[in-house]
């Protein structure tokens, strides 16, 4: 398989990473090399093998539904790019 330039732009859009035309062409070549490496996987018959998501067989621990974290809004918002009146500022999303 081989990624087209449009594929690369579509992936970048899905990943919310802006790319210029020149960058897209550059990534296209590199990503195709990487997928060339990844293609080795297809040579193995894995029918009947259960996917392994994790190194340890764990089940999720549960805890009481109780608030434990103290309110540290001021501390956390000090490192935010844009805040006002205790709110995080983003571009307008609803017209």
């Amino acid at each position: 398989m081989s990624l087209s330039l449009d594929d690369v732009k579509r992936i970048a859009r899905l990943a919310r990473v802006g790319v210029s035309e020149a960058e897209a062409a550059h990534y296209q070549e590199q990503l195709n090399n990487i997928f060339g490496l990844i293609a080795q996987m297809q040579s193995v018959d894995t029918s009947g093998v259960a996917p392994m998501a994790h190194a340890q067989d764990l089940s999720q621990r549960l805890r009481d539904d109780a608030a434990r974290e103290p309110n540290q809004r001021d501390k956390f918002q000090k490192i935010a790019p844009a805040v006002e009146a205790g709110l995080y500022l983003v571009p307008k999303v609803i017209e």
């Binding site: 990624l3 594929d7 690369v8 992936i11 970048a12 859009r13 899905l14 990943a15 919310r16 990473v17 802006g18 790319v19 990534y27 590199q30 990503l31 090399n33 990487i34 997928f35 060339g36 490496l37 990844i38 293609a39 080795q40 996987m41 297809q42 193995v44 894995t46 093998v49 259960a50 996917p51 392994m52 998501a53 994790h54 190194a55 340890q56 764990l58 999720q60 621990r61 805890r63 540290q72 501390k75 956390f76 000090k78 490192i79 935010a80 790019p81 844009a82 995080y88 983003v90 571009p91 307008k92 999303v93």
Partner: protein
């Protein structure tokens, strides 16, 4: 003092030959002298370091004791440390002051160690040469033309150059072991789940594991004693009884069965690395060990599997960097999507963007089964290879890296060439097994060679015993670069 091990440093403090403040100052002076040429540290804060040292001195004066109390260490810049800038090697977090402590950092504070600063690394731990750091590459103290390895390259270089007695690292595909090998120090990646990932900036969560990097196996054990342990804030932290990882150091090795995977000594391994590794194995045989050939037939698949699974997890983990709550935000943008795209285009480096794109693609509709699920199935086969191998041996040994440290720029512009250099370390992460690297000689170019020791699940104490015994019989771990 700069060459002293952790036990010796602790003794100097206990016997009041030196205060923690004085000790920290000596290392800070060494850092000030060498860091301009090595670039191992990205953040230094003398005021915070000395405040921690004064607090340790007060605890010592109050009669408290502990193997790390007052001892200076340095931390990979992937661990959030309250009040410290924590960049993860990225422009995205250039001005990020962590608002809380990672579990590992909290554990070291409890033990009373003193932080000398934050260590350079590949951006978001993605890299094998430290060339992807936004803060400039780290130089190998053995030869400044050579890479230190990655991603924990700053940690390895700092310990090798004696700027810090020991350091923390993290290992997702070899990021503790490979830089340890290339810089001639010791490093241990514990069994997945032994050390909490809380507050450790996530790359690939099913593979990431923190561990110690130091000059000797004994020091690794002392560090791991502080780092390991259950933490409910990490959903994959394992609930196990705490153990003393130094308990078996002195045990003789008679009867030890060493498995040598034939795939780790095949084509692609440099002759000088093979020679040093074989000499170390011969030394083990003198100490009473026997060798047995084992096979890990799916070794070659570990790289493609890793480069599906790790980017997939990374693309999800790194979606949090959106320019809203913390980190970089592009100065100019239109709507929300434009802000995301510009922020991430400007805030992430090339390697990070490549991996986010690979991950996005393999998880996307229509490709998920062919890539992601197929990789997870192969992951099981790779893990089963080890189960079979450990039926015949107690530990597995081989080279950590196929060559000694390569030169900057040597791998060119093709990421695949760099990826292939992690052939011997990645499978261990996929299986979740513990692995370590210890120095075992030098290559033809005078650069260090690392011996990799892979253990069965939770065999850290045994592996440290095996490493320590070689370090009692040889002095490779005591060699330091002349800088």
């Amino acid at each position: 003092m700069l060459n002293a091990n952790l036990a010796e440093l602790s003794a100097l403090l206990r016997e009041k030959k030196l205060s923690s403040v004085e000790m920290a100052q000596e290392f800070l002076a060494r850092i000030e002298k060498l860091n301009p040429s090595i670039n191992a540290f990205v953040t230094l804060d003398k005021g915070m370091t000395l405040a921690e040292a004064r607090a340790a001195d007060a605890r010592l004066a109050a009669g408290e004791s502990g193997p790390l109390l007052g001892v200076p260490l340095a931390h990979k810049d992937i661990f959030c440390a309250d009040g410290w800038r924590t960049t993860c090697g990225s422009k995205m977090l250039e001005n990020f002051i962590a608002p809380y402590d990672a579990h590992v950092i909290a554990q070291f504070k409890k033990a009373g160690s003193v932080s000398l600063g934050k260590l350079n690394m590949d951006e978001f731990a993605m890299g094998s040469s430290n060339e992807t750091s936004y803060y400039g590459k780290v130089k190998n103290p053995w030869d400044v033309k050579a890479v230190p390895g990655g991603s924990s390259g700053g940690s390895a270089a700092a310990v090798a150059a004696r700027m810090a007695p020991a350091a923390t690292g993290t290992d997702t595909g070899g990021s503790i072991r490979q830089p340890a090998a290339l810089c001639g120090i010791s490093g241990l990646k514990p069994t997945y789940g032994v050390v909490s990932r809380y507050g450790m900036i996530a790359f690939a969560s099913s593979l990431d594991q923190a561990g110690p990097m130091a000059k000797s196996a004994e020091d690794l054990g002392l560090m791991l004693n502080a780092m390991a342990g259950f933490d409910e804030r990490d959903s994959t932290s394992l609930e196990r009884k705490s153990e003393d990882y130094c308990r078996d150091l002195a045990k003789p090795l008679a009867g030890l069965r060493i498995g040598l995977p034939k795939e780790y000594f095949a084509e692609g391994l440099s002759a000088d690395v093979a020679k040093a590794v074989e000499a170390a194995i011969a030394e083990y045989c003198k100490l009473g060990a026997q060798t047995v050939e084992v096979s890990l037939p799916n070794t070659n698949l570990s790289i493609p599997v890793y480069y599906v699974l790790a980017p997939a997890e990374a693309s999800s983990n790194l979606s949090r960097f959106d320019g809203v709550r913390y980190g970089y935000r592009a100065p100019e943008y239109g709507d929300l999507n434009d802000m995301y795209e510009k922020t991430r285009a400007q805030g992430f480096g090339d390697e990070v963007k490549r991996r986010i794109m690979i991950g996005t693609y393999v998880l996307s509709h229509g490709y998920y089964d062919a890539y992601y699920i197929q990789a997870q199935k192969l992951r099981r086969l790779i893990a089963q290879d080890f189960v079979e191998a450990f039926k015949q041996c107690d530990v597995i040994m081989g080279p950590t890296s196929p060559s000694t440290a390569f030169n900057f720029g040597e791998k060119g512009d093709d990421p695949v060439a760099m990826y292939l250099s992690d052939i011997y370390t990645i499978a261990t992460n996929l299986a979740g097994l513990p692995g370590m690297s210890i120095p075992c000689g030098f290559g033809d170019n005078g650069r260090p060679v690392g011996l990799q020791i892979i253990g069965n699940y939770f065999a850290e104490a045994r592996m440290l015993n095996v490493a320590h015994q070689l370090q009692q019989a040889t002095d490779w771990h005591l060699r330091a670069p002349s800088i």
